[in-house]
Symmetry: D2
Subunit: 288 residues, 4 copies
Amino acid sequence: MNPETLARLLIRCPDRPGIVAAVTAFLFRHGANITELDQHSTDPSGGRFFMRLEFQTPGVDLAPAELERAFQREVAAGFAMDWRMSYAARRPRMAILLSAHDHAALELLWRWQRGELRVDIPCVIANHDRLAAAARAFGVPFHHVPQESPEQRAQAEGRMLEIIGERADFIVLARYMRILSADFVARFPSRIINIHHSFLPAFVGADPYRQAYERGVKIIGATAHYVTEQLDQGPIIDQDTARVSHSDEIDDLRRLGRDLERQVLARAVRWHVEERVLVDGNKTIVFS
Amino acid sequence: MNPETLARLLIRCPDRPGIVAAVTAFLFRHGANITELDQHSTDPSGGRFFMRLEFQTPGVDLAPAELERAFQREVAAGFAMDWRMSYAARRPRMAILLSAHDHAALELLWRWQRGELRVDIPCVIANHDRLAAAARAFGVPFHHVPQESPEQRAQAEGRMLEIIGERADFIVLARYMRILSADFVARFPSRIINIHHSFLPAFVGADPYRQAYERGVKIIGATAHYVTEQLDQGPIIDQDTARVSHSDEIDDLRRLGRDLERQVLARAVRWHVEERVLVDGNKTIVFS
Amino acid sequence: MNPETLARLLIRCPDRPGIVAAVTAFLFRHGANITELDQHSTDPSGGRFFMRLEFQTPGVDLAPAELERAFQREVAAGFAMDWRMSYAARRPRMAILLSAHDHAALELLWRWQRGELRVDIPCVIANHDRLAAAARAFGVPFHHVPQESPEQRAQAEGRMLEIIGERADFIVLARYMRILSADFVARFPSRIINIHHSFLPAFVGADPYRQAYERGVKIIGATAHYVTEQLDQGPIIDQDTARVSHSDEIDDLRRLGRDLERQVLARAVRWHVEERVLVDGNKTIVFS
Amino acid sequence: MNPETLARLLIRCPDRPGIVAAVTAFLFRHGANITELDQHSTDPSGGRFFMRLEFQTPGVDLAPAELERAFQREVAAGFAMDWRMSYAARRPRMAILLSAHDHAALELLWRWQRGELRVDIPCVIANHDRLAAAARAFGVPFHHVPQESPEQRAQAEGRMLEIIGERADFIVLARYMRILSADFVARFPSRIINIHHSFLPAFVGADPYRQAYERGVKIIGATAHYVTEQLDQGPIIDQDTARVSHSDEIDDLRRLGRDLERQVLARAVRWHVEERVLVDGNKTIVFS
């Protein structure tokens, strides 16, 4: 499978019979070779229908813009589809925001460097400067935007928006320990991924490992989710857990949790990059 | 989703463009409402293509036999498809064979009783009689077919074939500790499921928990697979593992392993019953 | 290791140097052969110390009552120990309470029947009568104590206390869907085990699978905990989780969850029976 | 717990009553404050006994050498103990060997840099030079020792022994794709840790992901073990597995497997560094 000639078609519409036939017949007619197809219906009678296809473009008989116009006219209009096509050759651009803890950001940079994450990274922004040298060693622009107090938020976010500009398609909060303003979040709907260091909805908010320790849980977790205006309430992309015991101190939970956070965030980002995640209200559909 | 009006279509054919479009257009044309669709290609250029669809039949415009004839004529012939349609209202019939250990068989009977396994159970056959009362408490015919020595195998298998007759669609070896003859196996190709108490291909053959203990592994496993002529070499349907430690004796491995065996076998049988497992040479495709 | 001659010593006291030496020297002096030893300190300086030993009694030079008096005098008094010795030959007596869902109760009965749970079961009490035949098939007394409305609670609990009387050492709520009164709970401190069908503290209260479904989590869980006056807030004994996806409906979560509940409850009950669980405030120490 | 004043005592001897009492009484008498204690017996009657203690040294009344002499005289001699004491303030020195794949080596370097691995790293040796820049960015001496063919092995091993000299206490093969000679291995008994990319004993030897793919397994694994003369047969320290499906190609198995390898190797190395791993014939006892 050549990733350079891979295209994706994502569809959401009211469910009714005939959608798959119409979509696949259209693609076949125009020479697209479908290599992956997933669909999900919240309810075959009157529910919402979601579909994701991967296809190879070399045999396609139309230029991308024409293909898209034809799809709208011949298929999408009749089914009231909300849809988009995208091309893997155009890599999504990912901005990374972090604070003092660098394990989640480094994990992404590392996977990116070895080719596991097909993105461009226009900027890494931190409110601490610890990661500066490491980021630069990866050849990635690093920006230090301090934010010591809530009062500095407006200014810091303004500075970050300048840096990000039109340069990023989505943002990853790789242990970014500040709460973004509703305004900032609203600019990137379903395009900011956060890693929260608990199995949500347990332990919302600050210091979840301490909360977990004090509750005496026997498993800890990590959750990757899209950021919405409400703290830690956005659609969950992925979660995972690990066993702990009475002999684990808070610092052990943090150490074990770091490994979970790295794995869960990396998986969620990969799925987002490959456009495997569709948002449905406050839930996600993940065609993994 | 009404299970009584659910049909399934399973397809295997050489991969080439247009299959999904042809199949889904056919079903749409005849009023079938597709509720699940999975496909897999071993290689988009010249590979083998596998597809499984679930659809609801109430709107279908043809009787089953007619629909099948039409499908063969209009779709399957052109793509050289090996295919079958089946109807969930007709429950598959499952024979259970076991020896002295009853946990795997009881797990199946239990799930069957609570409606998790949509099968009929024409017979339970054991070479020990320990399970007789338990099987009968489930209202299932129990047969004791002793087999004390290898010499008795031919006779025992003959007796089992009489009991099974045409009454079973598939057979589950729920810890059946005898090796079936090649002749017996050949009568049920891809229709005998065995649970082996190790993560195959490790610890083939007898007493795998002892083998595992002696090797000093830190995980144990269980494997459900289709039975072929070669011992423990058939296509794997499902596997799972659990952590163990130096403090676990062989009997601990057996106790922990029983839980794995029950889970893995129950999952594999459910997938088989729902026709989610397609065999491809010595591998399986599981559309779970 | 002979379970019939196995004794256990459980200790809790302020931590300070010399405890392990004093305890093990005492047991050695009196001919006890230690076969397991675990200890935990919340903090070596001024923390709480917990210890569990298993030893074989055949070589012990004193009768149990004398050994205990000697231990109090020679060791425990000096370290301000809260302690107890117990003898595995005396099986703890477990009462089971349940409502309409029988999978958790059946799992316990089943493991008990195969010898995995070394308990006596004086009674199974349900507020539905579905399980009556099944319980009796295990040879266990079954009692139906209806409780249709909150108003009937006092009467139902009174009836249950009559049945349980002095006959049970601990109680397992195997999906008992009523909230016990504070009075009832207070009679069995750290001796009522509940299985809650979520990973606590997420999804406290009613219908956690529905809550999980609506939140769109990617893992579900189960939690076994001691019951305290506050609903779902007691010390956690064990938890486990399983992955789910967008395609799992609420009924799928319930089905997958049942398997988790059975495993987690069975593990917690076994640990409790083997006296591996020590309560420390709202947490547990599990010497598994 | 201050790691700088932490000492460890590791013991192996024939099992018989009184060992724990003798050891803990000795340490108490000399002012050592025990903070961890684990023991294991292969069989209380005539088995082998293993014990690991951690204690704090500030209150100890003797200098280390004197304490050790006293322990030999007063305790160890009488029980025919094989034992050692060690002091966490003296960090073990870890040499890393690798080939072209750098993920395992980088994981160790990364954890070391963030303080999770309390070791010194005198050298990283690779038979490819890809990792040179990365290793040096961590401030670790890097050596390129090519070994293109089996004929070059003797020379390459000679060069590596020169580099390692007396500078390393143990060696980690972080995806070192050459087979070490029996002579080399014999110099570091139970002191070479290898990460094998399968769940041993399945898929010994070359390209285990391809073997796994061809067998059609539903789980892949990774195994960390001590290296012995026999390829992939040494004592297993840790293992873990991950689920895969029919849709995973060999490259997917490799990608998923890398994450397993990193986790399993990091855990095994941490346990080795903290002296939690005792070798017993071809097995390990891991006091984790």
